[in-house]
Amino acid sequence: MHYIPNTVKEEKELLSACEADKFSDLVKIIPSEIKLDEDLGIGIPLSELDIEKELKNLSDQNKASSISFLGGGIYDHFIPRAIDFVSCRSEFYTAYTPYQAEVSQGTLQYLYEYQSMICELSGMEIANASLYDGASAVAEACILSCSFTKKNTVLYSSTLSKHFIEVLKTCLSGQKIELIKIPQKNGVTDLYFVEKYQKELSSIIIQSPNRYGIIESWKKAKYFLQNSSALLIAAGDPMSLSILKSPAKCGADIYVGEGQTLGNPMNFGGPLLGIIAVKEKYKRRIPGRLVGKTIDQNGQEGFVLTLQTREQHIRRDKATSNICTNQGLLALRATLYLSLMGKNGLPYVSQLCYQKSQYAAQEINKLSYYSIKYGNQFIKEFVVETKHNVNDLTQYCSDNGFLVQNIHESISNCFQIAVTEKRTKIEIDSFIRCLNDYK
């Protein structure tokens, strides 16, 4: 109990108020068979100096100098230092996002700016103040589509990111919603499969760029829904929206995406930023918090949470979602990133990714044991087929300082590469030499 700053006297007072003599009396109600009666296995207590050395030894085991070609939903983009500086200011840096209008105008304003920027990127009319991650945003979009259409069959493309599919299945397992997988052909969704489901459908989910990095056509997907009341849920990396036709222009009803790419670090796969934006007609069904701009009694501009009757603290069991919280700090970082990059910077980053990844793919395709699996319709990520054993190859790359993703699924002999704007020509060339050297 060393971290609770009570004096011995205070501790005694607290214990006597509980009619206990010592701390262990308070926890004696816990059955002894579930109590840990051995040591935690983390060694003896150490001084601050010793613990620092210990942690340094551990962190030195990281391959921090490795060059990342990892992707699969989380990407190694450049993060301007100004983002860390502003987001770590104590006014923003809190574990809980404060919403109370009287004391939180700064927070509410940046969330409002965030929502506006997401609307501009996606072409949608309403964006919420963010969700946990892209995967749960996909699930929330499905729930929205089912409550709007009063139907309960959702078709999802098998080219959705793997973790999107897994979370989708988990979130919808108790919801009486039937999930059906749309097969794929040459790395893209086989939309002809959709035709036989038209009538009972609540929505279809199509991701672009998809899990293999390939650009899919939301517009074509919408065409397949023309005789149906089903909603089109467009999923995708918000970064790519700077150079692709927007989901709204392609006829999508809902846009969902993973916002990690907008100024948030990869960490070890989280925390992430869930983006959802919808057409105005779904505004009473959208999950989570919405910040609105208003005028106070003195006619001054201000920001407040709005349309809260959708939420569980008011609508209880009939709320649009069980999630009323958001990723405020990561949404702040995305807002800062988008402001710093601006209308020219964001597409420029995507263009750099495109040029560098296309260059990498062309060069890899020239190597004798490698070929590009699904053509060149990608922005920053692609699948490589090899005659080598993939596990041994990716281990070899890792040993030589290059991190690549080995696809764990039915496609054998393939691995995936993401090339962001951070990768230099020298890095790409030396990685290609590494692939070529592997025997």
Partner: protein, 124 residues
């Protein structure tokens, strides 16, 4: 509280005006007063079936939301479209311009509805 004598009522604070086999439904003066400023009504689809006690719509006020329950069995004939732009009619004129839904109904199962006197007793 205004409780017109020519209407039927429910314990969920709705009123029903029966005319041949068309029933007009709204919420009572008491209900609108309890909810406060009403800002949005969610209607059922025209032609959809209504079962006694099941939700046929929602009434959204500034700080709360209430369900509208079907007081009788029937089919939705008409909805009050004007409430989409002027939901405040429910506050201002709950028994007139603030009507919500008209139902076609078949059996005269009105026995379960409350009389004005019974309703008055309920809200006392």
């Amino acid at each position: 509280m205004i409780i017109p004598a020519n209407l039927y009522y429910t314990k969920d604070h709705e009123w029903v005006n029966v005319n041949n086999n068309i029933a007009t439904i709204g919420i009572t003066h008491y209900a609108q007063n309890e909810l406060g400023d009403i800002i949005f009504i969610e209607f059922p689809d025209i032609g959809s079936d209504c079962i006694i006690g099941e939700t046929i719509g929602t009434i959204e006020a500034v700080k709360t939301v209430a369900d509208l329950y079907s007081p009788i069995k029937g089919k939705v004939k008409e909805i009050n479209n004007k409430l989409e732009n002027t939901p405040e009619y429910i506050n201002k004129d709950p028994y007139g311009r603030g009507w919500i839904i008209k139902l076609n109904f078949f059996n005269q199962e009105l026995a379960d509805l409350l009389t004005p006197a019974q309703y008055e007793k309920l809200i006392k």
